[in-house]
Symmetry: C2
Subunit: 310 residues, 2 copies
């Protein structure tokens, strides 16, 4: 049988720089075969921008394994001669789970408890419930959409901010990005899940922090630069907001003597919402789905909007 | 109008030892009036066993505000001349939220992160997801039943243990108490939500810990004595299980030098799953419901099974 472009048999995929077994299984599960780059129509690249090889013209699609691709953009790796996909949506469910873990660790005072030894009198009055709370999700893309049902199960009301303002399923309200402040003014807590772009940089700053409440928690599972960290430190130490739970910081890693580490109303996890150790395991399913779409000539998931940088 | 026993106007309720405004509002919302104990058919008692007054025979029902009533039993306060209710079910939703917070703080390594400063290499490989995990709920009464939908939203499968084994809605499996070990052997994680009785004391011991897995977390939002804490310490320090998140300890409070405090795979919150500061606020709604049931002569919620001690 001579393969035609629409055949899975024509699905020749390079998995580089290492032939990760989870991703090899995904390729084979989609009916494709893993081949050297010289023969490939698709490159699955599990790594950063350094070392991306020169791409032959027959590579029609590069599937990157990272959620954020700022570093690829900065390194000038992307081109407009083929399709590029990132993996942001692929890890969305896990990142949403981490966002919930951080929000609950904050509001239920789990971390303040960890910093003390049975300081019941200090901890008890500060424990809050998500039932009836309004939680703003800034950037309700893949992660945000996965977070909505988790918050809903906990009895919270979700206020979603998306670029377009197109309604997010399950959210009590969705507004476009230019109405972010309106949502912050109504929110008990805020979860940042937006990409790092010139528009979102320092979205949380002295001005927007002042819109929040003394009991508010801010969770960041997106990118550190979304928060003006000096402004956050001021807000956390003056009681403007109650706390912040961060999986990302600016810079990253933070300096070992970053003053945020010393605050018991700050929760920091070391950028593990999408743990590297489980990355290819998590990516395998969505990659297989994208490979099947590729074979059928359908739109791929998580295509990079060239020029926007995400 | 002369009140008859079925009339809300006959609902004369003492709220003692202090006339808490949330509970006074609940009484009035149910159509009743707050009166001194000498005139009361119902006593709402917000406190411990010390100071419970001698009860006139016209007090038909005592509504206690605590979830566990071991101390009332030990003090000999309960009698069989009237109905006693505890408040365990009333706080179930909040306690379930706390159980989820503890489980996620453990499995997502939030607390290990808090004990270190951006120790990414140590934290990343240990981060787990609840998606696809099996979580045993030991004692799927009110708290357990509220926890099931939260775990389900996170993609976990729930294995419920109840006294009777009557199926718990949403659980993949419900078994009676005598089959607890069967469930422990299948579980990734365990949440303890059972009352403290002779049957449940040291339910988690060297033998049952050995049924669990090296990645297992044990969460206790029930009572400290359900766990043989010396056995738990051994399991935590030998890698038999991965971690434990405890809102209750044995004894309570723990000694300031309790060795559990020094472990970074232990999460301890100071018995705040049902925070005292929000107790009457949380109790108000269910109390109003019970008062309406009392007026209509219907079965009350959360009646103490006299002799069983819960």
């Amino acid at each position: 049988m001579i393969p035609t472009p629409g055949d899975a048999a024509a699905l020749r995929v390079a998995v580089e720089p290492t032939r990760d077994p989870h991703l090899v299984a995904a390729v084979e599960g989609a009916g494709g075969s893993v081949v050297p780059l010289e023969e490939a129509r698709v490159l699955v690249w599990i790594g950063g921008p350094d070392g991306v090889p020169a791409l032959p013209d027959h590579v029609e699609w590069v599937a990157l394994s990272t959620a954020g691709i700022e570093r690829f953009v900065a390194a000038g790796v992307l081109d407009d001669r083929r399709t590029w996909t990132n993996a942001s949506g692929f890890y969305a469910r896990g990142v949403a789970e981490h966002a919930l873990a951080l929000l609950l660790a904050g509001t239920r005072q789990v971390v303040r408890s960890a910093h003390t030894r049975w300081a019941k009198d200090a901890v008890d009055p500060a424990v809050r419930t998500l039932r009836g709370a309004s939680v703003a999700i800034i950037g309700a893309g893949g992660i945000g959409r996965e977070l909505v049902p988790l918050l809903t199960a906990c009895g919270a009301r979700t206020l979603a901010v998306t670029r377009s303002g197109r309604p997010v399923e399950g959210a009590a309200l969705t507004v476009p990005a230019e109405r972010t402040e309106e949502v912050l003014a109504q929110a008990d807590h805020v979860v940042l899940a937006a990409p790092d772009t010139p528009e979102t940089r320092h979205l949380i700053n002295d001005h927007t922090l002042a819109l929040l409440r003394p009991h508010s928690w801010i969770v960041n599972v997106a990118r550190g630069p979304l928060i003006d960290q000096a402004a956050l430190y001021r807000a956390l130490t003056t009681g403007l907001i109650e706390g912040s739970a961060l999986d990302v910081t600016d810079p990253e890693p933070p300096a070992p003597d970053d003053p945020l580490f010393a605050l018991d109303n700050v929760v920091i996890t070391p950028h593990v919402a999408n743990p590297a150790g489980r990355l290819t395991e998590e990516m395998a399913g969505p990659l297989a789905e994208n490979l099947r779409r590729f074979v059928r000539g359908e739109d791929l998931l998580s295509v990079v909007e060239f020029g926007r940088g995400y």
